[in-house]
């Protein structure tokens, strides 16, 4: 063991600037101990009972998803509650919700890397996994909403016998490129991050199957100094590419709405406010996942109160930006002097969907204010509840934006109400099942925390303070 637990390691774990807060890694850890602890979750430890229970529930929900999807393909989108004037409803709400959740993963892995925030290390791996699975859920919704999903490839530009091309002036086509690029780059980023850990698992694995599978995935990684050098350059470049990408993706999602002429959508504020909302909901989801994960697998040494506290602060900050967005939406409507805009604002707050609007304000604006208090940021169960509330709030936000804007537009003769059907709900619950099933499989078969980055953290903290 190259680094025996020592006084210096304990002192080292207190980072210089953050001496007031908890450490990013608890003292006493060595290269060997972090490697063994994280790889044991995958290779040797018996999965806890809660894993099986959680996986079973998720798997049942996944079956619900497959059933709902199968029935939808056989019958058509008439199963869903959307109809003119509310032609976009659960499908687009859930699309925006899922893709927003994904954004925190990229933010944690790319932006915090560029900003040299060492606390990202313990949470980036599963935040990236979360991104990938959330993008998978998000991508399915617009496809299922196509009506004839089996010709989804018509969205892509390719020379075809119909002699047609996509309309490149439409944000919906931009979305196809943005989301597929985002999915591909997230996958690359995640996989590149996994390569050295795959080598660690290959070298630790006892069973032949595991050795072969992790061996293939590691691609013969040996940890050579020259390889590491190129690897780090590549990782940094990818982070630099992913950062503007994540902003562009949700801006384009915002433009899906903003380029229309519909009151409530036609706002220049949308792209930045959507990006802030995405980060807000994404951090809430990371917290929702991290808190049970660290409790069940005993990862409190690596995902410390410092991580939770920092994520809470990011949530508070982005929550305030989102609150500013709500305020400005209302202000723009009033200041524009446009009676349709102003009607929409009043209708949102006092119309038939007023309950969703005020619930959204409570969830996204009122409740996160608790995070101003240090005692709240250190209270793990309470943080978990707040994160769940924010997840609900951000879902409601998309509901309010989409449904209340559509259901009463210019002509009262075209007004109508939207109510989700049981298939809307089944599809939504099912997509949560898809997300959680993938996540449970990830926890079981891949290292949830970047092992080599933890080793680096142990090394850096010892070197900096020894």
């Amino acid at each position: 063991m190259s680094h025996p637990p020592s006084e210096s390691a304990g002192a080292a774990a207190q980072p210089g600037q953050g001496s007031l807060s908890a450490p990013v890694i608890e003292p006493g850890h060595t290269f060997a101990s972090v490697t063994d602890k994280i790889s044991a979750i995958v290779l040797s430890r018996q999965s806890p009972r809660s894993w099986f229970v959680g996986f079973a529930i998720s798997f049942v929900l996944l079956m619900v998803f497959l059933y709902a999807t199968g029935y939808l393909l056989a019958t058509g989108v008439g199963l869903w509650g959307n109809n003119v004037p509310v032609a976009w409803a659960f499908d687009i709400i859930n699309f925006v919700w899922w893709i927003g959740i994904g954004h925190a993963g990229t933010l944690i892995s790319a932006v915090l890397l560029l900003l040299r925030q060492e606390w990202r290390t313990s949470i980036n791996r599963f935040a990236e996994a979360m991104t990938l699975f959330a993008v998978a859920c998000a991508g399915l919704y617009p496809l299922l909403h196509l009506g004839r999903p089996w010709v989804f490839y018509w969205l892509l530009p390719y020379p075809n016998t119909m002699g047609l091309w996509p309309q490149f002036r439409s944000p919906l086509v931009w979305d196809v490129f943005a989301v597929s690029t985002y999915g591909a780059v997230s996958l690359l980023f995640w996989y590149v991050g996994l390569i050295p850990d795959m080598a660690t698992l290959r070298d630790r694995a006892r069973r032949r199957v595991a050795q072969v599978v992790y061996g293939i995935l590691a691609m013969g990684w040996r940890g050579s100094a020259v390889h590491w050098h190129r690897y780090q350059v590549a990782y940094l470049l990818l982070a630099g590419l992913a950062t503007p990408l994540v902003v562009s993706v949700h801006s384009i999602v915002g433009l899906d709405f903003a380029t229309s002429l519909l009151p409530g959508w036609h706002v220049t504020l949308f792209p930045p406010y959507f990006v802030a909302g995405a980060i807000f909901s994404g951090f809430a989801m990371v917290m929702t996942l991290a808190i049970p994960l660290r409790a069940v697998y005993g990862l409190e040494d690596f995902i410390t109160l410092r991580h939770l506290g920092n994520m809470a602060k990011v949530m508070l900050a982005t929550g305030l930006i989102v609150a500013y967005g709500y305020l400005m939406e209302a202000f723009f409507a009033w200041y524009s002097g446009n009676e349709y805009e102003w009607f929409l604002t009043i209708n949102r707050a006092l119309g038939p969907y007023a309950a969703t609007y005020w619930s959204l304000i409570v969830c996204n604006v009122a409740v996160p204010q608790l995070l101003w208090f240090r005692a709240v940021r250190r209270n793990v169960p309470l943080l978990f509840v707040i994160a769940l509330v924010v997840n609900v709030g951000m879902w409601l936000e998309r509901f309010v934006i989409i449904v209340t804007s559509l259901h009463r537009d210019f002509l009262p003769s075209s007004w109508d109400m939207y109510y989700p059907t049981v298939w809307d709900l089944a599809q939504f619950a099912g997509s949560i099942g898809l997300f959680l099933t993938l996540l449970f499989l990830f926890i079981r078969f891949l290292p949830v925390i970047a092992i080599f980055e933890l080793r680096e953290l142990v090394h850096d903290t010892e070197e900096g303070h020894a």
């Binding site: 931009w174 490129f177 290959r202 630790r204 013969g220 390889h227 050098h229």
Partner: protein, 180 residues
């Protein structure tokens, strides 16, 4: 290279601490060995330079991928919207370049990302399913907490005995022969 060395890929020295490896790498390079490589469980800043590797062309590949991706994106849209399927929408210009920027941007990022990752793998010679070093069972610890330095047999200064003696004097924990 003498005949008895042909059977060897090289000699592998094992170290306990990153600092020891770093020192050994510098001394090995100073001694004139050039076909050398260090293997570590963590990326170590300056180690590649100490072994005599200075720059990587990877950023250039990223730039190339980005430029190619961006040009492809813009050309695709120009061809589709202006040349092959011109569609008059309310008299707006066919070459409406601001609307082409988002797709151009996305494809720039996509091209750059693929070139970065594939370029990194290609320059590193990965995937490589077999490597002589995997024959040394202790080498498994290179992904846990041990640090290794390898002098390859094809180095002109390599001599199984003298090089082995040199590696032992560097403060290594053990020296292994690596079969090819």
């Amino acid at each position: 290279m003498s005949s008895q060395d042909v059977a060897l890929y090289g000699l592998l020295a094992e170290f306990d601490k990153p600092e020891d490896l770093f020192e050994a790498a510098k001394r090995t390079h100073a001694e004139g060995y050039r076909r050398i490589e260090a293997y570590t469980p963590i990326p170590m800043e300056g180690l590649a330079e100490a072994l005599g590797h200075h720059t990587t062309r990877l950023p250039l590949l990223t730039l190339l991928g980005g430029v190619l991706g961006g040009l492809t994106g813009y050309a695709l849209q120009y061809y589709a919207s202006v040349l092959d399927y011109p569609l008059n929408v309310g008299g707006r210009p066919l070459h409406s370049w601001p609307a082409f920027i988002p797709v151009t941007f996305e494809l720039t990022v996509l091209g750059a990302a693929f070139f970065t990752v594939l370029g990194m793998l290609a320059l590193n010679g990965l995937p490589m399913p077999y490597h002589p070093l995997f024959n040394v069972s202790e080498f498994k610890l290179a992904s846990r907490d041990r640090f290794f330095l390898c002098i390859e047999a094809r180095d002109p200064r390599f001599d199984a005995e003298r090089t082995g003696e040199f590696l032992r004097r560097l403060g290594s924990r053990a020296v292994y022969e690596v079969p090819p």
